[in-house]
Symmetry: C2
Subunit: 310 residues, 2 copies
């Protein structure tokens, strides 16, 4: 029999991580209240599940799992941190899909939360998933040492709040010209994307370093990798928006161009964007050199992110 090709092993590992994340979220998101809770209303739990289960590639939890694996962190700890990160990602999708933001009716081939339920419920689903992320991180199951748990709380709050993802959303609304005419260059697009998309991907990589008590050099390596990966992810996204078809991508495409919004492609051109993507994958590779052979799975992840078709 021929040896399994590396990309098959990679796909299997990605699928396995997605399934494990799904199982964990399914176990956590029930109507059974935890200590300190009063009751969990069925409609809210059901809508939170709609907004977080059966969804996506789970790339962010995968990054936590693979960066944690570099340090032999117990699987369950990495899964918990990954589930928290995915709750933040999912809350942001629920709120972004709402009429005042992107006004999208479909997500991953299903009605968005505000279409399946209603706008008020969608606001509460986002708020509840956001809050739940910090509940998950606070649990001893995430790590027995409270100092590591609080480091995760701090890093996730900063990656996702006013100075990270939420701030990036605000910059993105401004980039659409909603609050007045803007003219963005490469620097502004880089910062916007580093906040809007990059910050959570970056957290996924340093979460492993935090759980694994990485040395400063190892932490820095994963941080550099995470930053390169974040920008690569967004350039690939821009290329998909240009070239992809809605059925494969699973959401509307061509919106950025239609909105006249500055993107890596409008600034670098398609060929320039592809060249930049190759440089970023090379930089992600090189950042991992400190981990030697063990960095193989994260190297493949960078390639996967750059070459994905959906």
């Amino acid at each position: 029999m021929p040896a399994t090709r590396p990309d098959q092993a990679f796909s299997a590992r990605l699928d396995e991580a997605a399934a494990a994340t799904e199982r964990l979220l399914d176990r956590l998101l029930t109507t059974q209240p935890e200590d300190g809770e009063i009751a969990r209303p069925a409609r809210l739990v059901e809508a939170m599940r709609h907004g977080s289960l059966n969804g996506g590639k789970r790339l962010r939890p995968f990054l936590v799992l693979e960066s944690a694996a570099l340090f032999d962190v117990p699987h369950q700890q990495a899964l918990m941190a990954g589930a928290a990160l995915e709750c933040i990602h999912c809350y942001s999708l629920v709120h972004d899909d709402m009429p005042p933001m992107d006004n999208d009716d479909m997500r991953r081939g299903r009605p968005t939360v505000h279409k399946a339920y209603d706008d008020a419920t969608a606001i509460l689903v986002g708020d509840s998933l956001l809050t739940f992320a910090f509940d998950i991180l606070s649990r001893p199951e995430t790590h027995p040492d409270p100092a590591l748990r609080i480091a995760l709380v701090s890093a996730l709050a900063r990656a996702s709040g006013v100075g990270g993802m939420a701030g990036g959303q605000m910059l993105d609304l401004a980039a659409e010209g909603r609050f007045g005419k803007v003219r963005h260059g490469e620097k502004e697009v880089l910062q916007l994307q580093a906040m809007k998309t990059g910050a959570l991907l970056h957290f996924g990589c340093i979460a492993g370093a935090i759980l694994g008590k990485a040395s400063p050099a190892q932490h820095e390596a994963l941080s550099r990798y995470g930053k390169a990966l974040g920008t690569a992810f967004q350039i690939a996204d821009d290329l998909l928006d240009l070239e992809g078809d809605a059925a494969t991508v699973g959401k509307a495409v061509g919106k950025d161009a239609a909105a006249g919004k500055a993107t890596f492609i409008s600034i670098l051109g398609p060929d320039g964007a592809r060249a930049r993507l190759r440089e970023l994958v090379a930089d992600a590779d090189s950042a991992l050199s400190v981990f030697g052979e063990r960095g193989q799975m994260l190297r493949q992840t960078a390639r996967f992110v750059a070459e994905r078709r959906s």
Copy 2:
């Protein structure tokens, strides 16, 4: 000179706590990014300030300060935990005021965030203030011991998420009949209010116990006090909705009756509600007996909450 009347001392202390909370939030909510943040967009910071500064009595931070004072917790630690709690309270007001929820144009005599800015900004302001609460709790300034900080994170997440405040909001929407006809009795109203309003007030009281490393009996006493206070707060609110005028209360009144929503008054009647209020104040008093004379300020707080006119 006559001795200062106790209620003057109380008012002065309440005002002082509000001013200190205001100063701290003013210092924390700037465009200067913290470690781990990329940049803080000016528009978002400005709108977060609109939604959190110049606001209200700051009763929740006051509860943290006074419960912490029972254990001689350093003032700054209690202020930090109080500011985090206030961020949660303010985020909930920003989201609740939005058109899909309560659709209120005015709050504390000023335009609500979505009126002063826009709906998309209001969504992001709420998300960012929510996230910021956990950032604040994660800082060493809140307490040098990470185990206490993570205990605060866990308690606040559970008080404010699906099993607490956000869940209570969902029950409140259901109580309006939005998702079908409902008929609530006393038990349902008690649970709804314990979640929607009570959970944050309760957290304010146990935050002091956490920071002060209270004994189990002391923790339980503050928890019982906080529960009685939470229900008393809501009954007083219902009485204000019935009797108050909009100018003093600072928001629209008479809405519950108009919406035909079950309240403590529709169930107990005005006199029954007033009698229940007196029982709850007595219970709050009695819960504090373990603290002897030191509980005086929290006893006055319960009276203040029950008798407030705004």
